[in-house]
Structures are given as structure tokens and as C-alpha cells.
């Protein structure tokens, strides 16, 4: 028998679509079905809705509407930014710089480009998950055409020094792309002030629908198309527009930015109370990621002597939805590449738990998770030969 109560603490994986966003989307499935590429009235209405959403996204980023292009999500936006810059600027150079802790949408795209003859530098990170500016400066060569560094990490929540990176890239004449999928709605972003040339986002991370995202491309950036076909999105991204999704994205980003400060304050207080409770009540536990420069709802903790999947199964039994890292890697046996890059030993990385809090979480949720998590850790440690050895060693000291 499983718990009836559900406590959702996996907001970095996805969020529930805001009911107001759903309401705004519904008419565009039925009455407003016109293809915006057509000429008649219902088509023009669709076109108007798309342009309104484009303005909403641009406003959220400090960009111009004609610098926003809709995609199917963050993965497509990352692929387009990286492959598009690489193929369009090949004559200038063949070197790309990224970090070791990027999402697989970036890492696997870079690995693909390596097979196409490009050279990629994977910058290491420090123990908090931040790229060192000195490493970036040293890595840029006259062959470098693109730096792609994520705004905030999806597993450990660490926020990268984006404005500094943008400044260096602009000074060195290198395009700068940032995967901001986790940052939108949690961190104030101004693409002009931060000197960002390309930025990826995805609606379902900020209470919008799944299957819709956007890529910001600064005017004058030289980029190839990823998708070829019709002339949609100013001939840069072919394919009939996902009108309900685009409308949902526009409203979701507007609402996320409007409530960001208030929500960050509330969620980070809940997160901090949870961390204090874990560290106080469960020994042999550590926080992963940056202690301060981190997403407000992100908590990534390692528990010695136990394994993450077992923790998740037991937490699920109590109705708690969490993650051991990126949801995309849940089918993998390898420990998180992000945690390993921060220097965590593999056996500790295996015992990591990511709790990401969001809009609907309450103080009662935190109390409930603290209570159940302690039981789960005790239960798994009682089963663990590593913990048995640890106890024996402690007794012998």
C-alpha cells in the first residue's frame, strides 16, 4: 500500500502547468485553429497570438521580439544554438568551449560536433560546480567560435558567473550561448546587460506546457538553420507553429517573472529549513553544489552508505517525488557526471538525492519529507554492508 499524500519535490524535472496558462491555451486548440501562415481571419488571429507571446518572452529576457524564435523545447534550442553557430562559422574556427556539467542536450551535441571535426574543450568546475573564469580565459583561442555554459545547473542548482563569462566572450569576439532552462523564473536575466548572444529556455520548467521552448538569438549573430522546410519564424525555424504551446509559453514566462521575487523568498526559506533539518537529524550527509549561488528551490544532498534509487523507491512509497539527479539519466547506471565533476567520489555520488521545491510546496511538506526521509535513510543504512563496516570501525576507534 502506498501513501495517498503526494509531495512533489521534483520541479527541476518539470512543473505542473499553471491553470491560468491552461485556460489561455484551450481556445487555441478549438476555435483558434488557424494556421498563422494562411491569410484569412482565423489565421491572422493565430499569428497575432504568436507575436504577443514573442513579445512576452522578449520582455522577460530584456530582448527584442524579433530576436525570439520558438522551438519544441530546450533540447532543440540547445542543438540549434550549438550546431547552428558551429556550421555557420566553420571558416572562422572550429573550437567550442563548454563545461563538464552541462545538460546532455549540450554535451551530446558537442560530442556529435567532435565527430564532425570540431574541437571541444570541456572546462572543469570547482567543488561547488562553478566554472573558473581563469580557465575560460586560458581556453579561448583564435579558433574559438562559441562558448556554451549553462546559466544554472539542473542537478546541483549552482548558478554560473554568466555576466563575467559574457563580458569575456564579447571582448574576445566569441559567441556566448547559455542554456537557461533551469534559470528562467528563478533568476533575473537581462541578455543585453549580461552580453548573452544566444539563450535556450523551455516552458515546462516554469509552469508552462511541455513541448515548447524558445531560442533567443541576438541580432547579427551568424547561425545556420537546424530545421529546413517552410518559411516560418522568419525562415529560420521551419514547421507549423505550436500555437497553444506558444500562447502558454508566453503567459507562463510573464507570470513567472511577475511572481519571481516573492516566490524565491518563500521557496528558498523552505529549502533552507529542509537542509538544516537534514544536516541536523541525519549524520554522514553533505550538501552538493554552491552554498549560496544556487537556485532558490534546489537542494542536492548526499547520504553516505546508501544508494539513490533505493531512496527514491522508498520515498515514492511515502508519496514523495524526488530525483537522484537529472531525470533524463534515470535509466543509467553511472553516477551523475555533474557530481563526479565536482570531485565527489562515485560511491557518494550514488547516494545523492535532489529535492527541488516549487510553487505548491508548504511548510507541512517540508516537515513530512524530513520525517520520512530520516526513516528511509535509517532503513537503507541498516541494510547496507558499508554502514555495517562503518559502525564496526567507529566502535573500534
Amino acid at each position: 500500500m502506498t501513501a495517498e499524500r503526494i509531495v512533489y519535490m521534483d520541479h527541476s524535472a518539470t512543473t505542473a502547468t499553471d491553470p491560468a496558462v491552461v485556460d489561455a491555451m484551450i481556445p487555441w486548440f478549438s476555435k483558434g485553429y488557424g494556421n498563422p501562415s494562411s491569410l484569412y481571419r482565423i489565421a491572422r488571429e493565430s499569428k497575432t497570438a504568436v507575436e504577443k507571446a514573442r513579445s512576452q518572452v522578449a520582455t522577460a529576457l530584456g530582448a527584442q521580439p524579433d530576436e525570439i524564435y520558438f522551438t519544441s523545447g530546450g533540447t532543440e534550442a540547445d542543438n540549434w544554438a550549438i550546431k547552428g553557430i558551429a556550421f555557420a562559422n566553420r571558416k572562422k574556427g572550429n573550437h567550442i568551449i563548454t563545461s563538464a556539467i552541462e545538460h546532455h542536450a549540450v554535451l551530446h551535441t558537442c560530442e556529435y560536433l567532435e565527430k564532425q571535426g570540431f574541437s571541444v574543450t570541456y572546462l572543469p568546475v570547482d567543488e561547488t560546480g562553478q566554472v573558473r573564469i581563469s580557465d575560460l580565459k586560458d581556453a579561448i583561442t583564435d579558433q574559438t567560435i562559441l562558448v556554451t555554459i549553462m546559466f544554472a545547473n539542473n542537478e546541483i542548482g549552482t548558478i554560473e558567473p554568466i555576466a563575467e563569462i559574457g563580458k569575456i566572450c564579447r571582448e574576445r569576439g566569441v559567441y556566448f550561448h547559455t542554456d537557461a532552462v533551469q534559470a528562467i523564473g528563478n533568476v533575473a536575466i537581462d541578455v543585453v546587460a549580461m552580453q548573452i548572444d544566444l539563450l535556450s529556455l523551455s516552458a515546462h520548467k516554469f509552469y508552462g506546457p511541455k513541448g515548447i521552448g524558445a531560442l533567443y538569438i541576438r541580432k547579427s549573430v551568424r547561425i545556420d538553420n537546424l530545421l529546413h522546410g517552410g518559411g516560418q519564424e522568419k525562415r529560420k525555424r521551419a514547421g507549423t507553429e505550436n500555437i497553444p504551446g506558444i500562447v502558454g509559453l508566453g503567459l507562463a514566462i510573464e507570470r513567472a517573472i511577475a511572481r519571481m521575487d516573492e516566490q524565491n523568498k518563500r521557496v528558498s526559506a523552505l529549502r533552507d529549513r529542509m537542509l538544516d533539518g537534514i544536516l541536523k537529524n541525519i549524520p554522514n550527509t553533505r550538501l552538493n553544489g554552491h552554498p549560496k549561488e544556487r537556485l532558490p528551490g534546489n537542494l542536492n544532498v548526499s547520504f553516505d552508505f546508501i544508494e539513490g534509487e533505493s531512496m527514491l523507491l522508498l520515498l515514492d512509497h511515502f508519496g514523495i517525488c524526488a530525483s537522484t539527479g537529472s531525470a533524463c539519466t534515470s535509466g543509467s547506471l553511472e553516477p551523475s557526471h555533474v557530481l563526479l565533476a565536482t570531485g565527489l567520489p562515485a560511491e557518494t555520488a550514488h547516494g545523492s538525492l535532489r529535492l527541488t521545491l516549487g510553487a505548491e510546496n508548504t511548510d507541512e511538506d517540508v516537515d513530512y519529507v524530513l520525517e520520512q526521509l530520516q526513516k528511509v535513510v535509517i532503513r537503507l543504512r541498516e541494510m547496507s554492508p558499508l554502514y555495517a563496516d562503518h559502525k564496526k570501525r567507529s566502535c573500534n576507534v
Binding site: 552508505f305 535509466g331 547506471l333 541494510m383 547496507s384 554492508p385 558499508l386 555495517a388
Partner: protein
């Protein structure tokens, strides 16, 4: 992802614990790989009268340990040696392909515990008839990389 049987053995593991004066102990796996199994046996008149396990690992690893210990309890050492990883996985109503190595660990853990018993009693250890080709998660001295 997991069968009801796997979840039952994960949620209600049988024979979990330690035998302090065990006649045979077998440990397999590697903390780096995220799985360690330790099997304890008590043997009387060539029959396994008691068996316990400790496991650091995923749901499949715990369930495999639990099921394997159930399957060998009361058996002769010869019968227990013949309990294969496939039999463990089948008894669990299947394991995801990516988790089959957990059943291999259970088989190996039993073999190690039996051979530990045999060595302690001055007997030659038995040799694996069909050693598993471990590309991953097999031996303590192997890395996890595939």
C-alpha cells in the same frame, strides 16, 4: 519499471541482516559501481540452515539478494551452487535488462559464500562452470566504465 514481485522483495526484504558467526561469507560488487552484496551462510550437515544478506544498491539489487537467499535456504550446498542468476530473475518475474547484473551479483555472492565455507573446511573451492562475462558490475576489482 519493476515487477510487483521485485517491489515486494524490495519493500519487504527476506533474510536481511548479518550472521555474526557465519560458516561462509561472500561479498561481491564495488561501491564505485553502486552495488555491494554480502551473503552470510550457516551450514549444518551440508545443508544451508540459515542465510542472511546485506546490500548496498538499487531496488533490483535488494530484491535479487532477498529472492536468492529465499531460494537457497534449506538446500544442500550443491543445490545452492546451481541456483543461477536467470533463475533468480525469473523468480522475480523479470528484471529490466539494465538491471540483470544485480541477479548476477546474487549468484556470485552465493558462490563466494559457499567457496568461503569450503576453504574454511579445507576443501577445494568449486570452479564456476559458466563464468559471466562481466563488462560491468561484476568483480570487485573492475571499474564501472563500459
Amino acid at each position: 519499471m519493476y515487477s510487483e514481485k521485485v517491489m515486494d522483495h524490495f519493500m519487504n526484504p527476506r533474510n536481511q541482516g548479518e550472521i555474526t558467526e557465519a560458516d561462509g561469507v561472500g561479498e561481491v560488487g564495488n561501491p564505485t559501481c553502486g552495488d555491494i552484496m554480502r551473503i552470510f551462510l550457516t551450514v549444518k550437515d551440508n545443508i544451508i540452515t540459515e542465510v542472511k544478506f546485506q546490500t548496498f544498491g538499487c531496488g533490483a539489487a535488494v530484491a535479487s539478494s532477498s529472492m536468492a537467499t529465499e531460494m537457497i535456504k534449506g538446500k544442500t550446498l550443491e543445490e545452492a551452487w546451481e541456483v543461477s542468476n536467470k533463475a533468480v530473475a525469473e523468480a522475480l518475474e523479470g528484471l529490466p535488462a539494465i538491471k540483470m547484473h544485480c541477479s548476477v551479483l546474487a549468484e556470485e555472492g552465493i558462490h563466494k559464500a559457499i567457496n568461503d565455507y569450503r576453504i574454511k573446511h579445507g576443501l577445494e573451492p568449486w570452479v564456476e562452470k559458466n563464468p559471466h562475462s562481466h563488462d560491468h558490475h561484476g568483480h570487485e576489482d573492475e571499474t564501472c566504465s563500459t
